[in-house]
């Protein structure tokens, strides 16, 4: 009689192999991305242009209107937009438009055959990449600080909340983008929808300006949407003067949004793969 040696995985082994998968994928990402330092720097420099423009514009306005705009001084703008650069780097996730490439090139078929949900690979790979990104970001942040003199005096608690919040922002933005990415199962022209999302995020997340500068109704609207928890909250937790209560409450709301968005993604994904037929692979 032929028997196989393969025993079913014990429960502890499953958890271990899960952790192992994450660590290995992250290590691979670090090793890969460190080789493309120049490419990573090009990307980052292009990214930094955006906040520098906002910063310069608002500094000019602050200076011409007596030192501050709505009570925000030039140095505080500098702090906001320099912390912005780190948050933005943390916010780089597997983008929705790449789902089109993944489906068209047949990459997705291979991923479906694996025992793990494909989203774990995205989360792990981009999380590993952050190690490289943050390392490369440090000299840039020092340079920006020397030029723009940010007013930054965080407390220990604020630093702790910030560190948790940037990872929360990473997970939340992953969930949002992956959900939008599901549209590519139905159309090859998701670009317009994606642009609409980017514009909404730009205005309602605190990416363009600190939300305090927006008209009241925009701020109210932003309260009901997930976007401000990916930019405004992490930045403000470090730069602003939030009370302990609102800091912790903020983290709680972030967690709720993450759980909510991943639930939406789960349904969207299940619906999408029923619709999927393979193209090579």
């Amino acid at each position: 009689m032929i028997t196989t040696d393969a025993a079913p995985f014990p429960q502890a082994g499953r958890v271990r192999s899960f952790v192992d998968f994450y660590l290995t994928t992250m290590r691979t990402a670090v090793a890969t991305q460190f080789q493309y330092r120049a490419a990573n720097y090009f990307y980052m420099l292009g990214m930094v242009a955006e906040p520098v423009i906002y910063l310069v514009v608002w500094t000019t306005i602050a200076k011409s209107s007596g030192g501050s705009v709505n009570g925000i001084t030039a140095d505080e703008f500098a702090a906001y937009y320099i912390v912005w650069t780190l948050v933005r780097n943390m916010n780089v996730v597997f983008g929705a438009p790449f789902w089109e490439w993944r489906i068209r090139e047949g990459q997705f078929s291979g991923q479906l055959l694996r025992p793990l949900h494909p989203i774990h690979y995205d989360i792990a790979y981009f999380a590993g990449w952050k190690v490289v990104v943050v390392t490369l970001w440090i000299p840039l942040a020092i340079g920006l600080s020397l030029v723009f003199h940010p007013a930054l005096h965080p407390t220990a608690l604020e630093v702790c909340v910030f560190i948790v919040a940037i990872w929360g922002a990473y997970l939340l933005r992953t969930a949002i983008q992956e959900t939008i990415g599901m549209l590519n199962f139905w159309t090859t022209r998701g670009a317009a929808v994606f642009d609409l999302y980017m514009a909404t995020e730009l205005l309602l997340s605190g990416r363009l300006v600190p939300l305090q500068l927006m008209p009241g109704w925009v701020q109210t609207l932003a309260n009901f949407l997930p976007f401000k928890w990916t930019f405004w909250f992490p930045i403000e937790s470090l730069v602003g003067d939030m009370s302990t209560q609102s800091l912790l409450l903020g983290l709680g709301v972030q967690v709720l949004w993450i759980v909510g968005m991943f639930t939406v993604f789960r349904f969207a994904f299940r619906y999408a793969i029923r619709h999927y037929s393979a193209v090579g692979g």
Partner: protein
């Protein structure tokens, strides 16, 4: 002259090819609407806190944004697609197909690709520009209009030179696709009058990445701010940069050994 004929032929082929995908027109219209909408929101946000930015009124800045979007459309339609293709060809080794043709290689790599639907972006920029101008109120003389057309052409040409210089760098660096993000990021500096930027940035976006020449100078022509000296400087810089681009392209080619197509 042969180069112009070849270029024209490629352009016609590219247009015919693109015209097959008509839905892309509507996608492009939507994208342009979003782009213009975001621009207007930013503008009204800034001017809700101030009445002038570095001496530019809201209507004048609207003209500037119009020029920036118009030129952006031009870049996206004619320059960027070619440079992306060139980057890809160097990576994949398929550049040999272009190099083995008898026509001048720089001409060939610059005219192979066109995204004609981006014309929608150019039109939306033009609409903003005209709308801004009617609100500025001052009449535009024939001389201003000619200066605008000339400086916009020079600007597009400068951007082309810049792009080709950077792309030629792929002969050594190979992986350069992030340069696209870098350019898009830096190009956004053109949305605001160049005077607001601190010195180091002002000179970078004037001479390193010629956004200032490409966007600010034409907009200055329209709002009657342009000095003859600035205009002549743009022309001179264009000639020098083109000569350098030509030399650098050939120098790069000598270093390129192909990667077996």
């Amino acid at each position: 002259m042969n180069a112009i004929r070849v270029g024209w032929l490629y352009l016609k082929m590219g247009v015919l090819n693109e015209l097959q995908y008509r839905v892309n027109f509507f996608v492009q219209v939507l994208q342009s609407l979003i782009q213009v909408g975001t621009g207007l929101v930013m503008l009204s946000l800034v001017y809700s806190h101030t009445t002038e930015l570095n001496g530019w009124s809201e209507s004048e800045l609207l003209t500037l944004i119009g020029v920036q979007i118009l030129l952006g459309g031009l870049i996206h339609a004619f320059i960027q697609p070619n440079m992306e293709r060139l980057l890809e060809d160097v990576q994949q080794g398929t550049l040999d197909y272009a190099l083995t043709k008898p026509e001048d290689s720089q001409v060939l790599v610059s005219v192979r690709q066109v995204r004609i639907w981006q014309i929608v972006e150019m039109i939306s920029g033009l609409i903003l520009l005209i709308f801004g101008l009617t609100r500025v109120g001052s009449s535009i003389g024939a001389l201003d209009a000619v200066a605008f057309a000339c400086s916009l052409t020079i600007g597009a040409f400068l951007i082309y030179c810049f792009w080709l210089i950077v792309t030629t760098g792929a002969f050594w660096l190979v992986r350069m696709e992030h340069v696209l993000e870098l350019f898009e990021g830096v190009y956004q500096t053109g949305r605001w009058p160049i005077g607001v930027y601190p010195g180091w940035l002002k000179y970078s976006v004037t001479f390193l990445v010629p956004v200032a020449f490409a966007v600010t100078v034409p907009a200055e022509a329209l709002t009657s701010r342009l000095h003859l000296g600035t205009f002549l400087l743009a022309v001179g810089f264009g000639i020098v940069l083109f000569a350098f681009t030509r030399w650098f392209w050939r120098y790069g080619l000598r270093h390129y050994s192909g990667a077996s197509a």
